[in-house]
């Protein structure tokens, strides 16, 4: 194994069946050393199964898995050079924090002072220095999560696996811990595979997002590419709230396309567009809602007041639209006729 391949991961035509049910039909995926890749998708899309196969907790039905250039497909979990952070943290309740962190080191045969030093370093790394003597149950959720991270990191694995690591934390803490995880990963430069169903989390931490649907990769790319250039209705809807509406491409010039949608004519990036009917993704926050007359009219169906913004469901000629209005002060009552316009930044043709 050279330094180039350390931390590289490859799935080669991996298939996983559970009895008659095929969770993953055919998965091929490469992860570069030092990359943080997020597996994103709704529950049941196969993202956790993928992660567990990488950890060695499930055996693929067919195909190969390589870590650091070495075929590990048949290698049991305890002999793979990866470690995992669990959704429930899975801290051993009968061991102190330090014993938890030392556990993996001792399993690997490390002894005495070396273990103590490594544990100390590991706990300092996550900002829990001096907490080693406590029991996990005496820590807060965020602290427990950090112990789980430290426990995984002291083993200096080639790849760190994180299975929905933030889903048991409350919203405010989630933002902080996710930043910390990303910083650690950037600083130490390890490869990480991160499973989540939260698109915001995925956008915030990833080098690359792999969106999965029904056991297949629906689209993969850097966060911005996925957000701005969704490949399908599913992606458009899953990454950021979008309305997908029919439109007509009327002209193409210099990378821009002129599309007619409802009563409006808009300029959007052309991507692979051809003239004729197409589908357009319209972000909920790219819709401007105003009273009065205009070229594109709709009628408020429901409205909700959420403090810093308003949410509308609007009936229009091209179907119902979901709009988030951050500017309006008072919600418009249902039945009000409104005129709609689109901000260009929130529009994308679906390729």
């Amino acid at each position: 194994m050279t330094t180039q391949t350390r931390g590289a991961v490859a799935f080669e035509q991996v298939r996983k069946d559970f009895g008659a049910f095929t969770a993953i039909p055919d998965l091929t995926l490469r992860i570069e050393p030092g990359e943080l890749v997020t597996l994103l998708g709704p529950s049941g899309c196969g993202k956790t199964t993928t992660l567990r196969m990488l950890a060695g907790l499930e055996t693929p039905t067919a195909g190969r898995i390589l870590i650091g250039g070495e075929d590990v497909t048949r290698l049991p979990a305890n002999r793979r050079d990866v470690s995992m952070v669990f959704q429930s943290y899975a801290l051993f309740p009968h061991m102190s924090v330090a014993q938890n962190v030392a556990y993996g080191l001792e399993s690997g045969g490390m002894k005495g002072g070396a273990v103590r030093d490594a544990v100390e370093t590991g706990l300092d790394l996550v900002g829990l220095g001096g907490m080693g003597a406590r029991l996990p149950s005496e820590l807060s959720g965020g602290q427990q999560q950090r112990v789980a991270v430290a426990r995984a990191l002291v083993l200096e694995p080639q790849v760190l696996l994180l299975d929905e690591p933030l889903s048991n934390l409350d919203a405010r803490l989630r933002r902080r811990v996710r930043t910390e995880i990303r910083e650690l990963q950037q600083r130490l430069g390890f490869t990480a595979v991160y499973v989540t169903h939260d698109q915001e989390e995925a956008l915030a931490v990833s080098d690359r997002i792999v969106v999965m649907q029904n056991g297949r990769i629906a689209q993969q790319g850097p966060p911005r590419e996925l957000y701005e250039q969704p490949a399908s209705d599913f992606i458009a809807d899953f990454i950021g709230e979008s309305n997908v509406v029919p439109c007509t491409v009327e002209g193409l010039s210099e990378g821009a396309a002129t599309v007619r949608v409802g009563g409006l004519v808009q300029q959007v990036p052309a991507r692979h567009a051809v003239l004729g009917p197409a589908r357009l993704s319209v972000r909920a926050n790219a819709i401007t809602v105003q009273t009065g007359q205009g070229p594109f009219m709709g009628r408020i169906a429901t409205s909700a007041y959420l403090g810093d913004h308003l949410e509308y469901e609007i009936e229009t000629a091209i179907g119902p639209l979901f709009a988030v209005d951050a500017e309006g002060d008072a919600p418009l009552s249902p039945g009000t006729p409104v005129t709609l316009s689109f901000r260009p930044r929130g529009l994308a043709l679906i390729a």
Partner: protein, 731 residues
């Protein structure tokens, strides 16, 4: 790769030692005594397998080992794994086949004589047993090399070993019993015994219904079981309602009742009843004195057995029904009350129907317990016994008719297994009791008045009766002769438990011998039971292997096999080669392990279900092997369940009688069997004294255990401490 090879090298070495050095056949003096070492060279019966190769049927054994060694040298693990597993399986199949075919005096089966004349062979000894284990390990290692169960050799070995053990100690005896029914004294096939017994009117007659004579023993047992099940369920429900739905004094004391059936040797109640209500019982005499009636022997027979079983098994029903009554979600009852239903209507229309499956469950458990009961009918049966005692007398009595015993045992097994299947298949899907784990707010509705009054009355009367009976048991050890001379004496205790100092310290009491045997065997069996039970539970809960459901079902089914049936089947299976153990302490240990294991399994499964599965996985991904995970993570977290399994199996080994009475020998006599002997000789005083001592010993053991577990819970209040009652019952 390295690891796979090292493992296999070790296995091949072990197999070679088993074949080349260790005595192949069973030694009369026992293997562990090591008395054989001195005669090793001189006596060909002690020689290892390699020296027994004059017997051609042993040739495949070394051939298979050599084949495996050849694979080890020529093929990498991934390619040889499947073949290794096949070799291992072939080894086991061949060893069992030859062992069953060639008996002490040649062929066991007439049909095989066509293959030529053979000499006889002894039962398997240490060498053969080790070789069997090596073949089992070969299956496991082979499958691991193929990558089965993520290549975990430890898990695969454990599964293989358990399947082998369950096959040997649960299914092989039953099969032996069935075939035994069709064998003559010389081993040849005959259907005569079965034909004679299966239609025997003494078993199947329904004469008592038509008024022409008595009913057959099968029906009598069945009626008794129905009556006992009904009675114990009703009483148990009354107790459960009092304990959970009413605010009364002494309620806590009711829960103590649940400990009674575990610590009471099964015939003790019958014994106490005899002393109270029997022909010379003091209650009988009191009534006769006052009224002048001649009560006579009314107690002996089904009535007496029924009363004794009611006393013995009501606590079990109580234990089951507490869970059922508490399992009804309070919000259901509150919902009913908010919809204008009275307490009576709520109870009748909501609470009771929700409890119905649990009540049916308690009924079936009572049915099985009554069917399997041996101690009470033995003491109180008189002339009209039940199936379990008839089986016993068919073997030990003057008639000595093994095929009759086998037929009766089959009938008994048929009844209990039907009840068990009904419980699992039919009730299993009908459980309304909410066990969501999440606390369900609200409070249980109070009982309607028309239920509360009678229920409390019945419960406290019965509790009083039970306390009285137990009081009699303790008191009975201190009086000279029951019914005749009630002056206090310590003579019975002295006779049973005296010690002497004439020539040094001597255990002079008659009970010591069986007492220490019992304690020793229970002490050996208890940890084995706990290990086997919890290992099985771990495999069932945490490992996904094909056939897991069947494996679990078969294990649980062994709980429904009455002790009498186990006893008779063990003698039929283990009296002759290939596996010969009767008369040893080993057979008692194995009997206890596999009889009490299902409880350990159930406790372990329940406890394991409360442990987050990602704890195991975390340990694995942190580089720990499965044995290390088991040792460092699972065992410490399961300590209460382990203690419970230990105590339960220890206590059960002390109180059990039904299977034991077939398996004891002069050398290894157990306390219960010895007490039954005392009763048969009419030495009631000593029997009662001995029983009291046993009860006190067991109470102190359970008390200590409760203290231990309780203390631990205080120390670590936050961790998920799955607490398993040691009063487990079949459910």
């Amino acid at each position: 790769m390295m690891r796979d090879n090292r493992r296999l090298n070790f296995l091949l070495l072990a197999a070679s030692i088993s074949f080349l050095l260790v005595p192949w056949y069973r030694l009369r003096g026992g293997f562990f005594g090591l008395g054989w070492v001195g005669d090793y060279l001189g006596d060909d019966r002690i020689w290892p397998g390699v020296a027994q190769l004059g017997q051609w049927w042993l040739w495949p054994v070394p051939a298979l080992v050599l084949l495996a060694a050849g694979l080890r040298l020529t093929l990498p693990p991934s390619r040889r794994g499947g073949w290794l597993a096949v070799i291992g399986a072939a080894g086991i199949v061949w060893m069992m086949t030859q062992g069953l075919s060639v008996g002490l005096r040649g062929w066991n089966w007439g049909a095989l004589e066509a293959l030529g004349e053979v000499g006889g062979q002894q039962a398997f000894g240490a060498g053969a047993i080790f070789m069997l284990l090596c073949f089992a390990a070969m299956i496991a290692f082979g499958l691991a090399e193929r990558g089965a169960l993520k290549g975990d050799a430890f898990v695969l070995s454990a599964i293989t070993l358990l399947i082998l053990l369950v096959a040997l100690f649960v299914f092989y005896p039953l099969v032996s019993m069935f075939t035994g029914a069709f064998q003559d004294f010389d081993g040849s096939f005959t259907a005569e015994g079965v034909a004679r017994n299966i239609g025997d009117p003494n078993i199947w007659s329904l004469g008592c219904l038509t008024g022409s004579g008595g009913c057959g023993v099968a029906w009598r047992t069945f009626f008794l079981a129905i009556c006992t099940a009904t009675g114990t369920t009703l009483l148990g429900l009354a107790f459960a309602l009092v304990a959970t739905r009413m605010r009364l004094p002494f309620k806590k004391g009711l829960r103590l009742l649940t400990v009674l059936p575990i610590i009471t040797p099964p015939f003790v109640i019958g014994l106490a009843l005899t002393l109270m209500l029997g022909r010379a019982g003091f209650v009988t005499e009191f009534i006769e004195d006052i009224t002048g009636w001649e009560l006579g022997r009314w107690l002996y027979g089904l009535t007496g057995i029924w009363i004794a079983q009611m006393l013995s098994f009501t606590p079990i029903a109580f234990l089951v029904l507490i869970g059922v009554v508490e399992g009804v979600s309070p919000s259901m009852e509150e919902a009913s009350q908010t919809m204008r239903a009275s307490r009576w209507r709520t109870f009748r229309k909501v609470s009771l129907p929700l409890m119905a499956p649990g009540i049916a469950n308690a009924f079936l458990i009572g049915f099985i317990e009554s069917m399997a009961d041996f101690g009470n009918p033995l003491v109180l049966g008189g002339n009209g016994g039940v199936l379990s005692t008839e089986i016993f007398f068919a073997v030990v009595g003057a008639q000595h008719d093994p095929s009759r015993a086998a037929v009766l045992a089959t009938v008994l097994l048929g009844f209990t297994l039907s009840a068990f299947l009904a419980q699992r298949l039919w009730l299993g899907r009908r459980n309304f009791a909410t066990v969501s784990g999440k606390g369900d707010g609200g409070r249980h509705a109070a009982l309607p008045r028309r239920v509360a009054g009678p229920v409390a009355c019945i419960a406290f009367l019965w509790a009083g009766f039970t306390v009285f009976v137990y009081g009699m048991i303790l008191f009975g050890g201190f009086v000279k002769t029951w019914g005749l001379d009630h002056s206090l004496t310590l003579a019975h205790y002295a006779r049973a438990f005296s010690v002497g100092f004439d020539r040094g310290f001597v255990w002079t009491g008659v009970a010591w011998n069986s007492f220490w045997t019992t304690m020793t065997i229970a002490m050996i069996a208890a940890p084995l039971t706990a290990i086997v039970g919890l290992l099985t539970a771990w495999l069932i809960v945490r490992q996904r292997f094909p056939g897991r459901g069947i494996f679990e079902f078969a294990l649980m089914m062994s709980f429904a096999i009455p002790g009498t049936v186990i006893g008779i089947s063990y003698i039929m299976a283990f009296n002759l080669p290939p596996v010969q153990m009767t008369g040893t302490a080993l057979i008692l240990v194995f009997c206890f392990v596999f009889r009490n294991m299902p409880v350990g399994v159930r406790g372990g499964v329940a406890a394991m279900a409360q442990l987050d599965g990602s704890l195991d996985e975390a340990s694995l991904t942190l580089g720990a092997s499965s044995p290390r995970t088991l040792r460092k993570i699972i065992l410490p977290l399961l300590r209460p369940a382990i203690l419970a399994a230990l105590v339960y199996s220890f206590v059960r080994a002390i109180t059990s009688i039904s299977a034991v009475i077939f398996l004891v020998s002069a050398k290894y006599n157990m306390a219960t069997a010895y007490i039954v002997g005392l009763v048969e000789n009419g030495e009631y005083g000593v029997a009662i004294a001995y029983s009291s001592v046993l009860i006190v010993v067991m109470i102190s053991i359970i008390g200590t255990f409760q203290l231990l577990v309780g203390e631990r819970r205080l120390r670590a209040p936050v961790q998920p401490a799955p607490r398993i009652n040691c009063q487990e019952t079949p459910a």
